[in-house]
């Protein structure tokens, strides 16, 4: 269930947002050179799309255990010690992600309260920040899912 939700979450960023970002960057250049009409709102929209792309990938990266990390001692541990440390590592990472989620949630509430918006186009920031919060919460769940998998003997 969780992997399906994370797959969907990652999917909309990978199949829709990322290609759209590339097209927007390219079209903005073409419009500027060919018609002398750069998109005034282009930078704002591209930056917000970037934020969504890079954060939407976080839960899938956690679930697939693809975060960049040092695996120096992994092969030197006994299987039991490796599992115990794997469990501790995923729990520690989940706690770190939880703090990040709490920080972004606070930021979302502040943005909503103060009505923060993009400069050149009327886009409120709080829905974007909320999507980032959801991505981080999914990352917490992904790390916990990996911890549970270790407990069940399926690391």
């Amino acid at each position: 269930m969780l992997s399906r939700i994370i797959g969907l979450w990652e999917g909309w960023a990978a199949y829709i947002l990322l290609p759209a970002l590339a097209v927007l960057v390219g079209m903005d250049v073409a419009s500027r050179y060919l018609f002398n009409l750069p998109f005034q709102w282009g930078s704002d929209v591209k930056e917000l799309m970037l934020l969504l792309v890079v954060t939407a990938g976080l839960p899938g990266t956690s679930l697939a255990n693809q975060h960049i990390r040092v695996a120096l001692f992994d092969d030197r541990m006994s299987p039991r010690a490796k599992n115990a440390w794997g469990l501790a590592r995923h729990l520690l990472t989940a706690i770190a992600a939880l703090f990040i989620g709490y920080a972004v949630l606070n930021q979302t509430l502040d943005m909503y309260r103060y009505g923060d918006r993009a400069e050149m186009i009327d886009i409120p920031f709080w829905p974007i920040a909320l999507l980032v919060t959801i991505a981080v919460v999914l990352s917490v769940l992904a790390e916990l899912a990996r911890a549970v998998a270790i407990i069940r003997g399926r690391p």
Binding site: Y15, L21, V54, G60, R69, V70, D74, A96, A103
Partner: protein, 432 residues
């Protein structure tokens, strides 16, 4: 606790967490957050995380990272690198070690359209190693040359580590890209020489056999695609037509159009490229954000100033300090990946090189060369393990083959230290 002592304790704790296997990005973020919480309270710590995440995630320059990764991924999944290898093989087969040199040249060419050496080693490993072994090259030389030549991808523009460096150090990414061209070409030449000098490891008879049965016109498609994209991206940046961010978008569209027109890109390959790009970008973004939080905290503790003051006060020539950095990066490279190494060291290394009188653009190139060496030296050597997975050749045998290429890279390190203009003159001629 004194802020300086706190800075040292937090840094040590972060290194311990990283060595213990906690993801580098989360370890950096957690260390910076704990440090801020002790120094200025929990509220300040939470504010710093939120700000760093938002500011980095909406940094216009960072758009180039996912788009350059995507560009390389599309070329990789469309199999266009096969063609550049085949053409290099045809052209260079009369030279001693011609097939090996073709591999080095093809890696450099592939590097001109991808910013990631992992993509380069996975691609060239599958294409070049079986061919070299079949033609009588020792497995040691075949794999050692491929693992080493793939590192050219992060020096020859576009380069993802140079984008990260530029974002982090607020240095012109366009100038950094252009600065990588001459050292990248010189290293290509040094690698080719290193290969030619290993006479016992490749067949004495050159030019034997037919290089590739495919028609020239079919191979020309891939080469033309790669050459067109490289010219558009690098030429556009050099001529001041595009910023690197814009060049990344144009590059992706150009690759898509050319690969689709030549019917080399299947839907499944495109899906794989998009998924891989999102995950890789997320992992890099987390490290960058964590590094920003930690380095801001370290600046507040004045640890950065203390280290820079200590090094600047040493009664040794700047070149000695730079050579000492080689040792530091070799040690770090033994335990850490490129991005982790870059972000971890930048808060201290960049102020040191600037204090020694070196240009930040030069520093970016110098650090990239050091990272290249770290990617092929044991015990971690990321490229070696990717190649082991791609070819099935044991890592120990690949490591045994990289040393002549490490020596070639160290020659470039010395040239850069004593002739810094090698990296800085070309960017000085570009349109900005």
């Amino acid at each position: 606790m004194e802020p300086l002592t706190l800075g040292i304790v937090v840094l040590a704790g972060m290194l311990a967490a990283v060595l213990a296997g906690v993801p580098v990005g989360y370890a950096l973020l957690a260390a910076g957050t704990i440090g801020y919480a002790i120094l200025g309270g929990a509220s300040q710590a939470l504010t710093q995380i939120g700000l760093a995440l938002w500011d980095n995630g909406t940094n216009f320059l960072f758009i180039a990272v996912p788009l350059f990764i995507l560009m390389g991924q599309i070329i990789f999944h469309a199999g266009l690198a096969d063609d550049i290898f085949s053409v290099a093989q045809r052209s260079l087969r009369r030279l001693p070690g011609g097939l090996g040199i073709s591999t080095v040249v093809a890696s450099a060419g592939f590097g001109a359209v991808t910013g990631s050496s992992v993509a380069a080693v996975a691609t060239m490993g599958n294409i070049a190693v079986p061919e070299m072994v079949k033609r009588g090259y020792s497995e040691k030389l075949a794999t050692g040359s491929v693992a080493s030549a793939a590192t050219l991808a992060i020096l020859i523009p576009p380069s993802v580590p140079l984008v990260i460096y530029g974002v982090w150090s607020e240095t012109s990414i366009g100038a950094l890209f252009i600065a990588g061209i001459v050292p990248g070409l010189l290293l290509t030449l040094l690698f080719a020489l290193a290969l030619m000098m290993q006479r016992g490891q490749y067949p004495a008879v050159s030019g034997a056999g037919t290089p590739n049965p495919r028609p020239r016109s079919a191979m020309a498609t891939g080469v033309l695609t790669i050459a067109t994209v490289a010219v558009i991206v690098i030429g556009g940046i050099y001529a001041g037509i595009f910023t690197p961010t814009e060049a990344s978008g144009i590059g992706v569209l150009a690759v898509l159009v050319l690969a689709a027109a030549s019917r080399r890109l299947k839907l499944a390959a495109l899906r794989a490229a998009l998924e891989e790009t999102v995950r890789t970008s997320a992992a890099i973004f987390l490290i960058l954000t964590g590094g920003v939080v930690l380095s801001r905290f370290l600046v507040q503790t004045r640890l950065t100033d203390a280290v820079v003051g200590l090094v600047a006060g040493l009664d040794v020539a700047p070149q000695i300090v730079l050579l000492a950095l080689v040792v530091v990066y070799l040690v770090l490279g033994a335990i850490m990946d490129t991005f982790g190494m870059l972000i971890l060291t930048l808060p201290l290394v960049l102020p040191i090189t600037v204090a020694l009188g070196y240009d930040p653009i030069w520093t970016g190139i110098y650090l990239t060369v050091l990272m290249e060496i770290a990617m092929i030296t044991p015990p971690i050597g990321l490229n070696v393990f990717v190649l082991e997975r791609a070819t099935g050749v044991p890592a120990q045998r690949i490591f045994a083959g990289v040393w002549p290429f490490v020596a070639a890279s160290l020659v470039l390190v010395l040239v850069l230290i004593f002739f810094p203009g090698l990296a800085t003159w070309l960017p000085n001629t570009m349109q900005r």
